[in-house]
């Protein structure tokens, strides 16, 4: 499933050209990204937080979906790499009004840009854009539909590696709306590629895709059993729309059955870490006690997110 014949992401010499999905990459490359991020973490600790790696390069943050959080972390990473930034927010609509996606890309290309960071509401958007752009332009997927959010997955892996040291002995549990989660899909691919010992997903049936096991995880509907002996617990965000589409009765019921509480955490390993891509719905995905506990590494994820994005963008930009 991960052997793509036509791997658009890797340029010559197998170096990263586009960063679209964990699929099609390999363990060595994922480790290289994390190693580079390590270097950038120390940059963030210096007084001068900038490096001139992408000086003179223009990066377009092309966001078809609103996202302050992802956009600001990308922006900060880009600034720390000394790049010039163009922020373009295009409101999505179900029927394509106005300029076609292809025309938008062509127009931006005409402004001599070097890289696109794309977030879009439809799966495959980053792939499509990568297949259309001129040879010197790189595309970074900032999240496409329900398909992938590979930079998030990488920062999650980096967080796990920094705190736990490695993946071979880890039991990792992902809880929440797997069906609609691009983050979960990317995390599952990355965990598998990095050799995590056991990967589990916990969710009600309506929030699981068909063939969920084919994502490489054991499926649980009971959180108490699901988190037993877990080393890492990742809670996914539950969106309010799910209640409206007859997928879940209420946030309350979700919290009762799938919320992370102190009592439930006790079933995991004593040095378990709790992660969340953010922003957290306190009282739905987890209770405040857990969010603010020493188990939670959520804020560290945010810090590492900048280093990871610096690593990925500098690798992709310089692979030509």
């Amino acid at each position: 499933m991960t052997d793509l014949e036509n791997n658009i992401q890797l340029g010559k010499n197998g170096r990263l050209r586009h960063f679209l999905s964990i699929d099609g990459l390999n363990k060595a490359l994922l480790n290289e990204i994390m190693d580079r991020a390590e270097s950038f973490t120390s940059v963030a600790a210096q007084t001068v937080k900038k490096v001139p790696l992408l000086r003179g390069k223009t990066i377009v943050n092309l966001f078809f979906e609103n996202s302050t959080r992802t956009r600001t972390t990308f922006e900060l990473a880009e600034k720390r790499l000394s790049a010039d930034i163009l922020n373009i927010n295009i409101a999505t609509s179900a029927t394509s009004k106005g300029e076609s996606l292809l025309d938008t890309i062509r127009n931006l290309e005409a402004m001599e840009v070097d890289m696109f960071v794309v977030r879009h509401g439809e799966s495959g958007a980053a792939h499509f854009i990568a297949s259309c752009v001129k040879p010197h332009i790189s595309v970074i997927n900032g999240g496409d539909g329900c398909h992938a959010h590979p930079t998030q997955a990488m920062l999650d892996m980096f967080t796990i590696r920094k705190i736990k040291g490695g993946f071979e002995n880890l039991t990792v549990v992902i809880i929440g709306d797997i069906l609609h989660s691009r983050v979960a899909r990317s995390q599952l691919r990355a965990l598998k590629m990095l050799g995590a010992k056991e990967i589990r997903i916990v969710a009600p049936k309506t929030l699981l895709p068909s063939f969920a096991e084919s994502l490489g995880a054991k499926v649980f509907h009971d959180i108490e059993i699901g988190v037993e002996n877990a080393d890492v617990i990742i809670a996914l965000r539950l969106q309010k729309e799910r209640m409206q589409s007859a997928l879940l009765p209420s946030g309350n019921e979700y919290f009762n059955r799938f919320g992370l509480t102190e009592r439930r955490i006790e079933k995991a390993n004593p040095d378990v870490i709790v992660m969340h891509p953010g922003p957290i719905n306190r009282g739905v995905e987890m209770e405040s006690k857990v969010a603010d506990s020493p188990y939670s590494v959520i804020l560290r994820q945010v810090t590492f997110g900048i280093s990871i994005r610096m690593a990925i963008m500098s690798m992709a930009m310089h692979s030509k």
Partner: protein, 432 residues
């Protein structure tokens, strides 16, 4: 060019159980002899086709010509041209043109233009409901008189089962064939791919097989109650084949067709978000494809159609879910069907039957055979000839096919309608 003598080829005519090397004499637009040469028969032209197959011209129960209304995608001229090259001498165009085929004027417009162009015969399918809206009945009697061969609601589901029931009954009062593409709109949601392993991985909104089987079961229950004649178009699930089988075992007058590409492609073909494989109904699992193959091999599914949907380039250049579904498929029907013969799914006779006698029987027309006295609508093809799907070889206005650039086997060399050679492969000008 009145009298033509076809020699050297193998005649495959499933309607008459024929599959042997023999000759064909054509005069006055009809077949006058098979095997023997009538006394005094002086032909004006001999077409000598050793190693080739001579069969009835193909009948395609579902091909969109895009005219009237979507001429940027195709026209009666361009698409019937492509049909000739594909050996398709008769095709049915669904009513979802613009304006919809729900008035005699539109029927006449299409028939007149097709006549004027003078290539493949076009049998328009009339709308089942006004404007295809699924609310009120169309004027089916008037439409039939104007020349509609059958009625359908194209791809638009009729949400009210009551309206569906009434439409089926009304059509039956004129003994009119109803074509239904079974699809439950609600279960489809925003889906654009088969709800299966691939859509799970790619995070594409899925269309469960239940979207087809629920609608099919509903319609079959109505057929059982009402004793009407229904043909189900473009099935995509193995489970649908089983439902049709049960219905046929209970002697319900139901038939079905499958599009040629559904017999080969599966959900794995959209792995790279390949929009050229974005079709409706979606490409499903390998098990579904195998089930459809068994369906056609066993005769539960009678016919293979093209489900031809030419598009302009831009329609496929977008994020997967925003691209328009459909493949430009007239010209790949024959090679794909022959591939089933190569893969031992069908015999050559069965394959030709699925393209000729069976669709003719579904539509209730006296075509798709080489009986003496029949119209000389003939296709001659070289089953071994390979060709590359590319601009030089492509006649349709739409180049939206996942087979672009591939080498396929099976090339039509001559297509005759009414005894006239209207397509000849390799000639600089098309004989018209």
């Amino acid at each position: 060019m009145d009298k033509i003598f076809l020699s050297g080829g193998t005649v495959v005519d499933p309607a008459n159980n024929l599959n042997r090397k023999t000759s064909v004499c054509i005069a006055n637009g009809r077949i006058v002899a098979l095997g023997n040469v009538p006394d005094g028969f002086q032909w004006d032209r001999e077409i000598h086709v050793p190693e080739q197959i001579i069969c009835p011209g193909f009948i395609d129960v579902c091909a969109r010509l895009r005219e009237p209304g979507e001429e940027h995608k195709g026209s009666i001229a361009s698409e019937t041209h492509a049909a000739m090259k594909a050996g398709i001498t008769t095709l049915c165009c669904p009513p979802d043109t613009n304006p919809v085929i729900d008035t005699p004027a539109v029927v006449e417009l299409i028939k007149d233009e097709a006549s004027r162009i003078g290539k493949s015969k076009v049998l328009p399918i009339g709308a089942l409901t006004q404007g295809l809206k699924g609310e009120s009945l169309s004027e089916m009697s008037v439409l039939t008189r104007a020349g509609c061969i059958a009625v359908s609601n194209a791809d638009k589901s009729i949400s009210s089962t009551l309206v569906l029931r009434r439409a089926m009954e009304y059509a039956a009062s004129y003994d009119l064939l109803v074509l239904i593409r079974p699809n439950d709109l609600a279960l489809c949601e925003r889906g654009c791919a088969h709800e299966g392993e691939i859509s799970t991985h790619l995070g594409l909104p899925g269309i469960p097989e239940a979207a087809e089987t629920v609608a099919l079961a509903q319609a079959l229950a109505l057929v059982a109650q009402l004793h009407v004649r229904v043909h189900f178009s473009q099935l995509s699930c193995a489970a649908s084949v089983r439902l049709i089988e049960l219905a046929q075992q209970e002697n319900l007058a139901v038939t079905a067709d499958v599009s040629a590409h559904q017999l080969h492609l599966t959900e794995y073909d959209i792995w790279n978000f390949d929009s050229y494989c974005h079709v409706m109904p979606p490409l499903r699992s390998k098990q579904d494809r195998d089930g459809l193959r068994q369906g056609i091999a066993s005769g539960i599914i009678s016919a293979i159609s093209s489900d031809h949907q030419p598009h302009e380039q831009g329609a496929k250049l977008n994020v997967f879910a925003a691209t328009e579904p459909g493949i430009s498929s007239l010209e790949t029907v024959l090679p794909l069907t022959l591939k089933l013969v190569d893969e031992n799914v069908l015999t050559l006779s069965q394959a030709i039957a699925a393209l000729t006698s069976k669709p003719a029987s579904v539509l209730g027309i006296n075509q798709g055979n080489l009986s003496v006295g029949s119209d000389a609508d003939i296709c001659i093809f070289d089953p071994k000839k390979q060709w590359v799907v590319c601009d030089d070889q492509w006649f349709s206005n739409g180049t939206n096919t996942p087979f672009w650039g591939e080498t396929l086997s099976g090339n039509v060399t001559y297509t005759l309608i009414g005894g006239k050679v209207l397509f000849e492969y390799g000639s600089d000008n098309l004989i018209s």
